[in-house]
């Protein structure tokens, strides 16, 4: 491993670096972490023209070697050979956006001055031509003193030439480092001068990206479009997911029928049916909804709309003491708080970042979809309230809105108390719109599906089976209720004393215990509990939704929803918060304040709904 040469891929954010990396390495990629920091290390295998292999490492995008974020620090430390756990690269592949030469050349000049053998990929030359720019890459190569290859990563243009140049660069000795480009201003001025010489002709053309922005960033229409996109996204999560979810549910039903038909009644059958099939199946039916949600988020990110949304939301975020920077981590938290919290690394101000981390779990993550979906499908009528808007979708949308309002409200309070400090500004690049690459989106969805199924097969399966065991032992004597005599039942009875005042019944108290590991376990726990109870009472087991309809009052169901808007029931979130804040203080604070909020919200909802006579 150590003998094969290492090539670092560096460039400004939005230079098309990752697309080029993907095309050069194909599917042979490894994703890891740098020791001590939570920055992702992506590497892959590239075969050089002479057949030798090389390791290609995709470094985080950086604007300058004067790093201003943990991501940029890793990039700087790797190229200067100071990163722990990484050798100094044998060569550097510098990716430059041809449509943004003045800016990207600054970082390029700084990297070239380090003296490592370097090859420049002048990427997106097709877009530069469309923008009316004629660039002479020969002049550029002469000015920079390194080979320059024109590429169009997404169309695989220039990849062979690039491989050729990299093969030649790998063997070249390192040159002495020059200190002339260490000052950003000096590098910037030289970059502008070189860009001026390399761009041999420029015809003014109206760019469609700009025309799109005239609408998308319009102070009024832009906000309308933003709200419409969010609304379509949440309606789609409910409407599109139904057929595939029904299909998955039916297959689990088939397996259950098969097991019941082949195995005699007894503990083994109970374990398989009540523990594994009912428990895990209840969660896996939500895979389509989760994938649809991730599809929208990946689409918004890859088209460049996400940063526009951050721009539109900056004012609103500022009123909560945050900025548009916090928008992207918070919207990512709608999929999952773990990548959301990791995405806060781009926020420079420490207090601002801490606040975003602390409120991120309030955003409605995909693990809540099984919980919300179950209760809504069971107890909210599937009525159409006109204009093609369904009541169930509307309630779901409402829960998301409560999560957002809760997060902003909590941020505002935190910014005036524990994370008080001067408000940092908002400053970010808004790259051109890009057509989404279907392959990258499919790859992203595939990775999410694997993560979700892995969770279902590990955390959820294990906690459901443990719960099944705690529910099944000791076995009830005739005349006793299995749920009441079991170990889990007794534990739940203790918790119920605290939870009864907010409208929670015995089964909910029971489900909350294993759901500490992950929220969606609450669904599988309820499924297992009711299934065991049914068998105990000699009834055929019914679908979980029908069970709830018969046994829960609407105020209880609404209180249960309100609880899960706030409750921090996710070990992964607590673990990533500990890692990102370097200690237990902040995760402990987060868990504490969220549980208090959850309890108050559930109580208020239950009593209000009871008073209103629901």
């Amino acid at each position: 491993m150590t003998s094969i040469p290492m090539i670092a891929v560096v460039g400004n954010p939005n230079a098309g670096k990752s697309a080029l990396f993907n095309k050069l390495t194909g599917a042979h990629q490894k994703v890891g972490n740098y020791p001590g920091v939570t920055v992702e290390r992506k590497s892959g295998r590239l075969s050089l023209p002479d057949g030798r292999p090389a390791e290609l490492v995709d470094l985080p995008g950086a604007y300058s070697l004067e790093a201003s974020s943990p991501d940029e620090e890793v990039t700087r430390d790797v190229v200067i050979g100071r990163q722990q756990g990484e050798r100094q690269p044998d060569a550097v592949l510098l990716v430059i956006d041809a449509t943004n030469l003045d800016n990207h050349l600054r970082f390029a000049l700084q990297v070239i001055a380090l003296g490592l053998p370097t090859v420049v990929a002048l990427n997106m030359v097709d877009l530069a031509a469309r923008d009316g720019l004629t660039i002479d890459s020969g002049i550029l190569a002469r000015e920079l003193g390194v080979p320059v290859i024109e590429t169009v990563a997404v169309r695989r243009r220039g990849l062979d030439e690039l491989r050729e140049a990299l093969g030649a660069a790998v063997g070249r000795p390192r040159q002495a480092q020059s200190h002339s480009m260490e000052d950003v201003v000096a590098a910037q001025r030289r970059a502008r001068a070189i860009a001026g010489r390399a761009i041999v002709a420029e015809t003014a053309k109206r760019r469609w990206s700009g025309r799109l922005d005239a609408v998308a960033l319009h102070p009024v229409f832009g906000l309308f479009i933003f709200v419409a996109i969010m609304f379509i996204m949440f309606q789609a999560v409910f409407a599109w997911a139904k057929p595939p979810a029904d299909f998955i549910g039916a297959r689990f039903g088939d397996v259950e029928t098969l097991v019941v038909a082949t195995l005699p009644p007894g503990l083994l059958r109970s374990l398989l049916v009540d523990g594994v099939i009912k428990g895990v199946g209840a969660v896996i039916v939500f895979l389509p909804q989760i994938l649809i949600l991730f599809f929208f988020i990946l689409l918004l990110e890859s088209t460049g709309y996400m940063v526009r949304a951050a721009f539109l939301m900056d004012r609103l975020m500022a009123s909560a003491g945050l900025s548009g920077h916090a928008f992207i981590p918070l919207l990512s938290s709608v999929a999952c708080a773990v990548p959301g919290i990791m995405a806060t690394r781009t926020i420079e101000d420490p207090k601002h970042r801490l606040t975003t981390i602390l409120v991120a779990p309030l955003m409605t993550c995909s693990a809540r979809i099984p919980v919300y979906g179950l209760i809504i499908a069971a107890l909210i009528p599937a009525r159409n309230i006109g204009y093609g808007i369904g009541l169930q979708g509307l309630v779901m949308f409402g829960l998301y809105v409560i999560g957002i309002v809760g997060a902003l409200g909590a941020a505002l309070v935190l910014r005036h108390t524990v994370t008080r400090g001067a408000n940092q500004g908002f400053m970010m690049e808004m790259p051109k719109y890009q057509a989404p690459h279907l392959r990258d989106i499919v790859l992203g969805l595939w990775q999410r599906a694997l993560i979700f199924l892995k969770r279902a097969g590990t955390i959820i399966l294990v906690s459901t089976v443990i719960l099944w065991a705690l529910l099944s032992f000791p076995q009830a004597k005739p005349g006793e209720n299995q749920l009441d005599v079991s170990v889990a039942g007794r534990l739940a009875s203790g918790l119920e004393v605290i939870m009864r005042p907010v409208g929670f019944n015995h089964e909910i108290s029971l489900a909350l215990i294993p759901a500490m590991a992950a929220r969606e376990v609450a669904v599988s726990a309820l499924a297992t509990a009711y299934s065991i109870q049914d068998e105990d009472e000699g009834r055929t087991t019914e679908a979980l939704g029908n069970q709830l309809r018969g046994r829960w009052s609407l105020p209880t169901a609404l209180a249960f929803l309100a609880w899960f808007v706030f409750a921090p029931q996710c070990l992964s979130t607590i673990a990533v918060t500990r890692r990102e804040t370097n200690g237990w203080k902040w995760p402990a604070f987060m868990v504490g304040y969220l549980f208090i909020l959850a309890y108050l919200a559930a109580g208020a909802t239950f009593w209000l709904a009871t008073l209103l006579g629901f």
């Binding site: 004067e66 900056d314 004012r315 420079e348 001067a422 400053m427 970010m428």
Partner: protein, 79 residues
Amino acid sequence: MRLDKLPFSTPATVVSVRWNDLTPSEAKRLRNLGLDEGVRVEALHGGLIGRDPLAIRIGRMMVAIRRSCAQTISVDTAA
């Protein structure tokens, strides 16, 4: 003229920046995004309330900044 007062779609050149009125990290980020004396800029879009934040073109790149930051930048439309 201050950049926050510059009418939309009017190309201008940065004359001076009051770097000292920005926090050091803001100044560093602004420099990293390519802002410098002599650079061509243009105001493109503004937020609903008081044109805040502002989307400006720096060179060939669109960048979002707050109005308070734009106030430290003086521009000239003549060049």
